[in-house]
Amino acid sequence: MMIDQNTRKRLFEAVANRVIAGADELTDLDRAIGDGDHGTNMRRGFEAVLAAVDELAAKNLADSLKGVGTTLVMKVGGASGPLYGTLFLSLGKSLADDVSREQVADAFAAAIDAVKARGKSDVGQKTMLDVFLPVLAVLREGGDGLPTRLKAAARLAAENTIPMRAIRGRASFLGERSIGHMDPGARSSELMIDAVADVMEGCA
């Protein structure tokens, strides 16, 4: 599957627009169990991505992903900057322009490991990782209707963070009180997966 310049631009725009559209919701989620800046920070980061999207998409997939990662690191301005930045930077290390599903899954798995190391976290701690791991599993399965199944997996995984108790991040300071609220990072991850899946459906 060729991820050409046009596709790269559509992917980055879709993800950025999706996150920006959800920024107020992310802020609300983060007010409940964080410091209320997740939406603002992510909006800032992705507005910077949008502003540079033509320049970013003009590079090959690897360099454009690294460009997105660097932009997020420099512009998000909160704990999620290094985390999402690391995700994209890592993806940019292992993807050529022409990729198979397995290669994307391998790259995603490596990127998840990089995020785990960066955030000193793991699945089960009520974070973005709790969305990434289930989505990776579906990606590895492959099969029919993949975009729809990826979206459903991301949606379910984000909802599954609601009853979890936070063990990482600002929410962990709330202990039991973090239960009953969706993790904001899980929601922003879901939004991104959703956007990518939409573009995939458009390419099919």
Partner: protein
């Protein structure tokens, strides 16, 4: 506070706030602060909250290779740690000694 205590003896840098100037953190500002505090002995970083720590680690990784292994983030409370670190640094201590002094304040 630290500047008052160690005056011009120790190069210092500080920063705070996100790229728009609100509450938060900013990798570029951290890198600039590291540069202002730079000396051949290196830089000890004291941070307040988790986001600052992760962004500081990121900033260190983005430094030129020649500087990267001489910048450390101390696991210490920001105010007391900075004061102790600066005092230790002013006495001519190595980066390692400065870090250990700051981290003595943190319960094991």
């Amino acid at each position: 506070m630290v500047e008052q205590m160690v005056g011009g003896d120790v190069p210092l840098g500080w920063c705070g706030g996100d790229p728009d100037g609100g509450l938060g953190t900013n990798v570029e500002a951290i890198m600039a602060a590291i540069d202002r505090a730079w000396s051949e002995k290196g830089v000890a970083i004291l941070v307040d909250l988790g986001g600052a720590e992760t962004n500081s680690e990121m900033a260190i990784e983005m430094l030129p290779e020649s500087r990267r292994n001489r910048v450390v983030v101390c696991n210490a409370p920001v105010v007391e740690g900075a004061v102790m670190a600066a005092t230790e640094a002013a006495s001519g201590a190595t980066l390692d000694a400065v870090r250990r002094t700051a981290e003595e304040l943190t319960p094991a």
